[in-house]
């Protein structure tokens, strides 16, 4: 083995000096959530870094819906799932069709629509929330889960169209010409050539829209209020209504709520980072 040089040791030490704070900074809030979920209330509130008696009691209470704040836990989890999947599917449908029309069929006015969509994407969602809330009221959709679904599709679609158009522009145009020569209709081109080639981007965009909807708080809490209709994110926020909130249960629900998106994110990381982050700033 080679003897480490003094300079080598100093470099490693410097790297660790950055790495350890980064690790702690990243993990502490998440660890704190995990710690609460396995701690009895007294232990969590006593500021212990590890409970004397770790317990799964909190999960039992949550899964058994044995608390006032949790009486609709399973229903709210189902709502979150249903809304996220619907938003993912609808966004994919709307955005894929639009990107195909703009990029491959070169529909007239497609460029303008692309720019309008991009403009929408850059308007902060919190600013659109108030007019959206009033509009949903006018449409009679308040307290209806379709209001949230449609609002989230509106927010997710512009970026989706943009990413799909960028990916679609990269496909060689000769493919379309060959398909036309063979007498393919636009729909056949769409189904047999376009969709299979776009699969990686479609996966990325479907996941993006699904996670956006699952994670959404502001729109969900504005548009839904009935306990049986709200998503888990709103239910989490509602815990704060009382002064003596059961924080250990709140953190347990939070952990359950955070696990699926984190798992999806890590599973699709390659698509997410490649398809999304690169598209976000490079031009």
């Amino acid at each position: 083995m080679k003897m480490p040089t003094l300079k080598g040791v100093a470099t490693e030490a410097k790297l660790l000096l950055i790495g350890i704070p980064v690790l702690l900074w990243t993990l502490i809030p998440v660890y704190h959530m995990f710690l609460f979920s396995i701690s009895p209330k007294e232990s969590a509130f006593a500021g212990k870094l590890w409970p004397d008696h770790p317990t799964l009691h909190n999960f039992e209470v949550v899964f058994g819906q044995k608390h006032y704040y949790l009486s609709h836990f399973w229903l709210q989890l189902w709502n979150s799932l249903l809304i996220a999947v619907t938003v993912g599917a609808l966004t994919l449908l709307v955005a894929t069709c639009a990107a195909f029309a703009i990029s491959r069929l070169k529909v007239k006015g497609g460029r303008t629509i692309m720019n309008l969509a991009l403009f929408t994407y850059f308007i902060p969602a919190a600013f659109l929330a108030v007019p959206m809330y009033k509009t949903m009221g006018n449409y009679g959709l308040l307290n209806n889960q379709w209001a949230l679904i449609l609002a989230m599709v509106t927010i997710a679609a512009p970026y989706s169209i943009w990413v799909l158009k960028q990916a679609s522009d990269k496909l060689p145009y000769e493919l379309d010409e060959a398909a036309r020569m063979d007498g393919a209709t636009p729909l056949q081109l769409f189904r047999l050539v376009y969709l299979p080639l776009m699969m990686p981007s479609l996966v990325a965009i479907g996941t993006y829209a699904l996670l956006l909807a699952w994670n959404e708080y502001l729109y969900a809490f504005l548009l839904l209020s009935n306990d049986r209709q709200i998503t888990l994110s709103v239910a989490l926020g509602n815990f704060l209504a009382a002064d003596d909130s059961p924080w250990e249960l709140l953190m347990t629900v939070g952990l359950i709520y955070a696990l699926p998106p984190a798992a999806i994110y890590y599973a699709f990381k390659r698509y997410m980072v490649g398809g999304l982050t690169a598209g976000a700033v490079k031009s």
Partner: protein, 292 residues
Amino acid sequence: MSTLAIPRVEPALPAGPAKRRLSPWQTWGLILIAPYVLVFLVFVVYPVGYGLWLARHPASYVRLVDDPIFARSVVNTLVFLIVGINLKMLVALLLSGFFVTARTWIKWLSLVFILPWAVPSIPTILSIRFMLNPEWGIINHLIFRFTGADGPNWLNEPSVALAMAILVHIWKSLPFWTLILIAGRLAIPAEMYEAASVDGASGWQKFKFITWPSMQTLYLTSTILSMIWTLGDFNSVYLLTGGGPADLTHVLATLGIRYLRLDQVDLSMASIVCALPLVLPLVYFMMKRLSK
């Protein structure tokens, strides 16, 4: 750019009879784009128009400007953007240099590092909120254990509470921007650094003459985009401080919702209209960059 791959022929020209006004390709194009156009009209154009109509009375603006909370929110928003975002981007720039170092443990660390971005913001912000609880929070427990003194009342002092909201925002979005800047760094050819090493360049010189010139456009675009998104960051402030104490930590994103909850929709819309001079130049810049 990617458009290079596309030959400059007029693709929509029909192969069939030239007299028909719409080829089947154009017809299908219109049919396929219609769903998004419909969504855009019903859920973007109408709400924005209706919102502007609600904010049409000059009296709303007079009342808004008279509200001291509005002025405070504008200041808070500017602090959030100018201090918060620049701090975040600077740290992201430095960390991107750390993460491109070739070490196995740094590879693993980078996987852990994106956790804040991968998990939803609500539970983690609430987790941080309890950590900062003056009586039961873990931070003040630790301060007491090590110093014997009571820790500060983190969320009850407006400027400290705002600083905490900024830190929460940074905690959440730092991984994303670091990833972007890592991608930027990895795009720089390694030969440039090797050549510089041969010529005896120091680390700082390599950064100044190679890294920064290749990354500055990306860095600027990222900063602008981050500012736009941060203007709409409702969760970091609302879930941590709720705008309190005494409505002194509101930003424009939470202020609109506050007025809405107080049933003052015209003020709510007016505050958003007032934010437009801040938003539109940034959006214009991004549109110029991206809509090529």
